[in-house]
Point group: C2
Chain length 150, copies 2
DNA sequence: GAAATTTCCGATTTGACTTATAGGAATACT
DNA sequence: AGTATTCCTATAAGTCAAATCGGAAATTTC
């Protein structure tokens, strides 16, 4: 599995929206300003997220986006699968397509299934809310650390 | 982390060589025939593996390749890192390069570090010997299963 | 209802990287 | 000498990610 820029932007935008949950609608330009993501590219991404039911949107003046579910009900795994496809690091794991001749009994494949499961274990458990907490926690711990130098 | 064709070919070739460990040298064409890998492409890959110290080679008539270490001393993680680079699914994890503005306290990044560790945990532990055993085990179990239909 | 604002949509470009091929040099055996 | 094999470099071809462009549709404001 490779997370592309697209996937990274999607995550960052969603985290941004999670941090502004229940604070009204947020426009593309707001996110662009805060997260430094190419605007037109982000546009496409948000539409995908919206069509998948993750976001709610409204057009025209005063329009914008907001999460369609609470941040603790959206997992990172869901996002990455939506934008970047299956979590498996090797094609033959997800797509039924044979890669080596003995796909059914392929030891390599079996290891990669383990890897996929391990990453899914993590990514399907961690939600946008968790990420916000992690960021907040790290920032606080960092602030504390800085205190000692005063 | 994305495993490319190159990485897949490398693994398959190494497993092939592991299965023929201590049976003398094995030529590129032998591997090509068995594993259905583009010959000239495999050539480049084997050279990389050789330069990294994983393989031993000999030129000329009767030449070929063989593992330079026992199959249980070569991990899949080592191979993939060599051919396809770092295991992290996100660039900002491995390269020090900042992706989002607050890299140091980035929650996304922290999750991806967890993912990298989880996959490293698996791939650094599984060796070529393990893969051979897995393949063999699955093939045997499959054969048993077939027996019931006779 | 006209104008402004914002999301929505499709096509296209650009560049980078993966994949593969080509041709020959170096080496070792017979 | 001749043959077989690995080694090396360049480059073609193909694929896909990343980004841009131009405009359509909807919504609010005046
Ligand atoms: S089936 Fe994918 S490498 Fe064997
Ligand atoms: S540092 Fe990579 S997404 Fe934040």
């Amino acid at each position: 599995m490779k997370i592309t820029r697209k996937g990274e932007y999607a995550m960052r935008a969603l985290v941004d929206l999670a941090q502004n949950y229940r604070k009204g609608l947020r426009q593309i330009q707001d996110i662009v300003r805060e997260e430094e993501i190419p605007g037109k590219f982000l546009e496409q991404i948000l539409i995908i997220l919206k069509n998948a039911g993750l976001l709610q949107s409204k057009r025209g003046i005063g329009g914008g986006y907001s999460l369609n579910r609470p941040p603790d009900k959206i997992s990172i795994g869901e996002v990455i699968r939506l934008i970047d496809g299956p979590l498996a690091p090797l094609g033959c794991v997800s797509s039924g397509h044979a890669s080596c001749s003995k796909e059914i009994t392929c030891g390599i494949r079996s290891v990669m299934v383990d890897v996929e499961n391990a990453t899914a274990e993590i990514l399907d458990r961690v939600t946008l809310a968790d990420i916000c907490n992690r960021t907040k926690g790290m920032a606080e711990r960092r602030a504390e650390y800085q205190m000692y130098y005063i």
